[in-house]
């Protein structure tokens, strides 16, 4: 018995939502960062599922591109986080509030 494709799409949509909501409600910058990764991987799952449903290799190739881009984002993102929290003890977004208005 195989699992229907729609279930994978539903799972991916759920993961994407968890990532999106997590990014908005969590205050720890590293966890926000993980939420972004979760969103990107939910998209990967969507691509693979559609590729399987459409019987098209293109969607699976896309995943490689997304993985590379996500890796590049991690490099830059962690560097920014390190530079901002070098002089702080906690990585909390609420402390970053010089700019507002």
């Amino acid at each position: 018995m195989s699992v229907p494709g729609a279930w994978y799409l539903g799972l991916a949509a759920m993961l994407f939502t968890i990532g999106g909501v997590g990014l908005l409600v969590r205050r720890n910058v590293l966890i926000m960062f993980m939420c972004i990764e979760l969103m990107l991987n939910a998209v990967n799952l969507t691509f693979v599922t559609f590729a399987r449903m459409l019987n098209d290799i293109g969607g699976q190739v896309v995943v490689f591109f997304v993985l590379v881009v996500a890796a590049a984002e991690v490099v830059v993102g962690l560097a920014i986080i390190v530079s901002i929290f070098r002089r702080r003890t906690e990585a909390t977004a609420d402390d970053i509030s010089l700019l507002k208005g």
Partner: protein, 521 residues
């Protein structure tokens, strides 16, 4: 199994058609290498000249391709196995990106020296970022647009945090990074849903598919919505604008100028191409949403700009309202509207870089004096600079005989032609509101008490400016005249020449935008 597979057909790559982005990427890598070998003061000037030269070389290369495409020899065409489209539209945005790099580099030179920041890396990131923008304009595939978007954005995240010693700059970087990645994820999910609904990520294929088949159901609509959210973040359209004021204010001022010009142009290149070309048959679905985005951006951008006391923040809100005007052209969804949007983006590039160039000069060492008070008496202190800034502000407000007036005129007349009378009226009302804060700044420059020349009291007047409440040491240098670096003066001069030139003799620029629109694939 493996033996049965066909051999891989490597696509034919037309390198000459990719020359502008290859020049930018190659230049960036060469400068990166050179920067590791030599680290002295001459390197700063050399990298600036090199970057401007690379941008000009890319401009010349685009001009060659324009001759090729427009001259009837090749015509608009697809390249690199249909992943890249070489047409007037793509070349137009390549030109805009090259101009943004050249002006941004001129503007950065004095700033980097004044703030004692490392020079070559800055220019390297700028060129890489622009190459991503060029790629977005040329892409004929949603995945390529995503790659271009990320190349553009990742370099900009670093640039926003380039002034590492300033807390504001680092804060701008983290905010831009988190919200930028968030929007990229949305864009990518939109790509995935569009792929699922149409069976391809190629824009030509999608247009053909949607033209021949009726697609019903939520998947395609979801794709539209997510793509619009993702690109709406990039071009800073309301309600996806929350990051803009903070990032524009916190980032180093030359970066803000470059970011405002380049990221917005690239975002609109993708937005116009995806929605007008690929999703053109589904206009009834996306036009109302674009209408709402345009109206919200114009109104919210203008109204919130009025209450700002920080000039960088005010310009950030005004750039949000400009995004609304460019969206009018897309909402009209006719050739005149798209040509209007292109003209608007080109005019806006010069206006915004010129404006932020002035802000960079006035904010002086430390990049802190960006409050309205810092502009008091600028007209007597630096008449030329004040005059240039006045022209930029009047042009942004849409005063006749400037490029900004014609830009607004073309998008609004396109909306009238498309019978969207309501949005045309709202656009005109919003520009009246916007005129208030541009004029207020001009009044401060010309009519403010001349505290600077008298040499007394500027300290007290700036103390109310929240951003610099902590920096007591900065205030001692205030009484001296602002220093105008030669390169920045050149950039301002070029912006001024274009703003007035295109206002008085608009025909060549309009023809360029119109041809670019018609030469679309």
């Amino acid at each position: 199994m493996i033996a049965q597979l066909d051999p891989i057909n490597l696509p034919h790559v037309e390198w000459s058609l990719l020359a502008p982005e290859l020049i930018l990427i190659g230049g960036a890598l060469a400068l990166l290498m050179a920067g590791t070998f030599r680290r002295d003061r001459t390197m700063a000037t050399a990298s600036c000249i090199f970057t401007v030269a690379a941008a000009l070389a890319a401009l010349v290369a685009s001009w060659g391709i324009w001759q090729d495409v427009g001259g009837g020899r090749g015509g608009a065409r697809l390249a690199v196995s249909d992943a890249v489209v070489i047409d007037g539209f793509a070349i137009f945005f390549t030109v805009v990106m090259c101009i943004a790099v050249a002006l941004g580099a001129l503007l950065a030179h004095g700033y980097l020296r004044q703030e004692k920041l490392e020079a070559p890396t800055f220019y390297v990131l700028m060129m890489l970022s622009a190459s991503g923008g060029v790629l977005m304009a040329k892409a004929n595939d949603l995945i390529l647009i995503f790659l271009g978007l990320e190349i553009l954005s990742i370099a900009l995240y670093v640039l926003a945090g380039y002034h590492q010693r300033r807390d504001e700059s680092r804060e701008a970087a983290i905010k831009y990074f988190v919200l930028g990645s968030f929007s990229s994820a949305f864009f990518l999910y939109g790509v995935a849903l569009t792929y699922g609904a149409t069976g391809s990520t190629n824009l030509g294929f999608i247009a053909e598919f949607l033209g021949t088949q009726t697609v019903t159901g939520g998947v395609l609509l979801g794709g539209f919505a997510f793509l619009l959210v993702g690109l709406g973040f990039k071009v800073a359209a309301v309600p996806f604008h929350m990051w803009t004021p903070d990032v524009y204010q916190g980032a180093p001022t030359p970066v803000t100028g470059f970011m405002a010009a380049a990221a917005k142009a690239a975002g609109f290149a993708a937005l116009l191409r995806i929605f007008f070309s690929a999703f053109g048959t589904e206009q009834l679905d996306w036009k109302p949403i674009v209408w709402a985005l345009a109206v919200l951006s114009m109104v919210v951008g203008s109204v919130l700009a009025v209450v700002q006391s920080d000039v960088k923040r005010m310009l950030a809100y005004s750039s949000i309202s400009h995004a609304g005007y460019v969206l009018i052209g897309l909402q009209a969804a006719n050739d005149r509207g798209i040509a209007g949007s292109l003209f608007y983006l080109l005019a806006y590039t010069f206006l915004i870089v010129g404006s932020f160039a002035t802000v960079a000069i006035v904010s002086r060492k430390g990049d802190r004096r960006t409050g309205l008070e810092a502009y008091r008496g600028l007209a007597r202190d630096r008449p030329g600079l004040a005059f240039a800034f006045t022209v930029f502000l009047l042009a942004q407000a849409g005063v006749p005989f400037t490029s900004g007036f014609l830009a607004k005129f073309y998008v609004i007349s396109a909306a009238v032609e498309a019978r969207s009378y309501a949005i045309a009226v709202i656009a005109m009302l919003a520009s009246v509101v916007a005129a208030f804060f541009y004029l207020r700044l001009i009044v401060v420059m010309y009519m403010g008490e001349d505290q600077v020349m008298a040499g007394v009291g500027p300290e007290t007047s700036t103390a109310g400016d929240g951003a610099e409440a902590g920096g007591g040491g900065v205030l001692t240098a205030v009484a001296t005249r602002v220093h105008v670096p030669a390169a920045a003066a050149l950039a301002i001069g070029l912006c001024l020449a274009f703003t007035i030139g295109a206002g008085l003799l608009p025909q060549p620029v309009i023809d360029f935008a119109r041809h670019a629109t018609l030469l679309r694939l």
